[in-house]
């Protein structure tokens, strides 16, 4: 995808808009706008109809769009995604809500073998305008089966777009982009962010894919983070600022496509790079960013790269273990600080 604009400077709560809304409202707003605009969009998933979604992520939509366009499904992720692909091939624009991102595994075969390949393999004849929506990450000790963040799997596969918004503003703007795109896209929210508040412009806008946001400008070290981890990165940056360490926090917003330029520019300015990720390090998003910089900006680096990630163990339920495994602001501060001693 051609980059249409350069990266934007945008903190978690700075925009021109005065209107404030939550992350969950932002998604509903995007879907409502787009469903009104485009009759081919429909939505299916478990409990997304009258109930309004496990996370209230479709509240009010069923009232407006009814049973035909807001379709509650059985517990059958494989068929949900399979029917989504078929409907997309036939000219509809389905949103398939998997609710807990973990359960996308039940249908990963269909996304990876079918959805991602059909446009290419059909020599451009077919399009698969399918949006997979799901909520990742841990919240209130969801344990080993409900806390995963393996979005790197879908970064690995050509033909898929992957958005991981951190703010209400980006939820609305990126979801609109996804819904207008003809490519299959995963739109992955974070469970712990649904109640987060932030600027939410009422007027029409989109956020393009592949354009990072500089959440906080800085000059000593570049810190990359997406989704929930952006707020931890900003907290850590705040603390480090007091020690005289200036951290540039960059939120790529979509990890496929990835805004390489913004990352490389930042690293060439700071000479130091850390990546903060709720996912595991091995072959994760953090590995990709580190590899990118080690290929394309090695000479700019004044210190070893740091990956600050979930420690390599299943997502333990116990709060004491979970808090240890998932990156804490403390850990981020320590690790980022250490890049300046390198």
């Amino acid at each position: 995808m051609a980059k249409t604009q350069s990266s934007v400077r945008q903190g978690l709560d700075e925009t021109s808009s005065e209107r404030v809304g939550t992350y969950v409202e932002a998604g509903i707003e995007a879907i409502r706008d787009e469903m009104r605009r485009d009759p081919d969009i429909f939505y299916m998933g478990q409990g997304i109809g009258p109930r309004g979604g496990n996370f209230a992520q479709t509240r009010g939509l069923w009232n407006e769009f009814g049973d035909e366009r807001l379709r509650d499904t059985p517990i059958a992720e494989l068929a949900q995604v399979g029917l989504g692909i078929g409907a997309a091939l036939a000219g509809s624009r389905p949103i398939v809500d998997i609710v807990f991102f973990d359960f996308i595994l039940e249908a990963s075969a269909l996304l990876i073998q079918q959805a991602s390949t059909i446009h290419y393999i059909s020599n451009g004849k077919f399009r698969v305008p399918l949006v997979i929506r799901a909520a990742m990450g841990g919240v209130r000790n969801t344990g080993p089966h409900h806390s995963h963040t393996f979005y790197s799997f879908f970064m690995h596969i050509p033909g898929l777009r992957v958005a991981v918004p951190a703010t209400p503003h980006d939820v609305k703007g990126l979801l609109k982009t996804a819904l207008r795109s003809d490519d299959p896209a995963l739109f992955i929210e974070h469970k712990a962010l649904y109640n987060a508040k932030g600027p939410l412009p009422a007027q029409e806008y989109t956020v393009p894919f592949g354009q990072a946001a500089i959440r906080r400008p800085g000059k000593d070290v570049t810190l990359i983070a997406v989704s929930l981890m952006v707020s931890k990165a900003l907290e850590a940056a705040e603390i480090l600022e007091r020690e005289g360490i200036s951290v540039e926090v960059i939120d790529p917003r979509t990890v496929a496509p990835l805004d390489k330029e913004t990352i490389l520019q930042s690293v060439s300015k700071t000479g130091r790079l850390a990546i903060l990720d709720e996912a595991y390090a091995a072959c994760g998003f953090s590995a990709e960013v580190a590899a990118l910089v080690s290929e394309e900006a090695l000479d700019e680096l004044d210190a070893p790269i740091r990956r600050i990630c979930a420690l390599p163990a299943p997502h333990a339920f116990s709060p004491s273990l979970n808090d240890y495994l998932i990156p804490s602001v403390d850990r981020v501060v320590r690790e980022v600080r250490s890049t300046l001693r390198g």
Partner: protein, 321 residues
């Protein structure tokens, strides 16, 4: 069926323990001291109690997200289940699992599960192992009506049938999966009838009638042990509370419907039936109620006093080797 006093009281005790446990867990959860989410089994106790009464300690059980009852009935001590719900070291998994991840090899308990379908093929696999090792063990899988429209149900039942595995598939049909009525999830609302697709016996039983469940399970277990293959058992029941603690469970179910099912309380029903039939005396039940109350109170005290695991252990035992 020949109903002995011993049988009646042991079934009653199993149900009463689950009921008391769930109400206590609810109380602790509501007090804000319990992490995570819990799915309560109140109203469905007859199924765990009746089915598991037919099993030996060595037999296997897989369970669902709504699995405290199965864990207790199979023999994990209430203390360890409650402590596990707290994420505490005294739990059967040292606090690593919580409500949806209870495991205990000592009693053949292959796990509650945070994912809806996997318990079904896992039970079939345990049965396959038993068959290969010629141990005579059987496996039971408990799952909800929500699981039967999932592909894993289909694949596992087909393989269990063609390989004649000693496994019993117990569907706890409580009419809803979260808020979705079973009839909105499938056109064929008879789970038992689906057994025909696999050429397997399918049985429908009143899921609030512990004696009926005990009887039917006994037959299925015997068939399994004789090497005659699997059975699908549909137990019609109802959960009294919401899908999980926090869901009032009322927006999608009428008050009348809930009330009607509360009238079919499996615990009270056995007690009344036993008294009417002269199988046991009021004092028998009072004694059990008292025992169970103190057992669960003790479990709660134990769980609340049990510390969190040490953070430094968080990377232990990711691998065996």
């Amino acid at each position: 069926m020949n109903v002995s006093k011993e049988l009646v009281l042991s079934l009653y005790r199993a149900m009463a323990e689950i009921r008391e446990f769930e109400l206590k867990a609810r109380e602790i959860f509501r007090s804000g001291r319990m992490p995570g989410f819990i799915h309560l089994y109140v109203g469905e106790e007859a199924i765990a109690a009746g089915v598991i009464a037919c099993l030996q300690k060595e037999d296997y059980v897989t369970s669902s997200h709504r699995g405290h009852g199965h864990a207790l009935a199979k023999g994990i001590p209430a203390r360890e289940v409650m402590a596990e719900l707290m994420g505490a070291v005294g739990g059967c998994c040292g606090g690593r699992g919580g409500s949806m991840h209870l495991y205990e090899p000592a009693v053949g308990f292959l796990g509650t599960n945070g994912v809806v379908p996997p318990g079904i093929p896992i039970a079939a696999g345990a049965a396959l192992s038993a068959k290969l090792r010629k141990t005579g063990q059987v496996a039971v899988s408990f799952f909800g009506d929500g699981a039967v429209n999932n592909g894993a149900f289909h694949e596992a039942l087909n393989m269990a049938a063609v390989w004649e595995l000693p496994v019993i598939f117990v569907c706890e049909n409580n009419l809803y999966a979260t808020e979705t009525p079973f009839k909105a999830a499938t056109k064929n609302t008879s789970v038992a009838s689906r057994a025909a697709a696999y050429q397997m016996p399918g049985i429908e039983v009143d899921g609030n009638d512990v004696l009926a469940i005990y009887e039917k399970t006994g037959q299925a277990v015997q068939r399994a042990r004789r090497g005659e293959g699997p059975t699908l058992m549909e137990c019609l029941t109802y959960r009294w509370f919401g899908h999980h603690e926090g869901d009032p469970g009322t927006s999608y179910r009428s008050r009348e419907e809930v009330e009607m099912w509360k009238q079919r309380d499996p615990v009270r029903r056995l007690r009344e039936q036993a008294l009417a039939s002269g199988w046991a005396e009021p004092g028998d039940f009072e004694r059990i109620d008292e025992e169970v109350r103190s057992l669960i109170e003790d479990a709660a005290q134990f769980a609340l006093a049990s510390p969190q695991p040490k953070a430094a252990t968080a990377l232990d035992q990711v691998f065996c080797d």
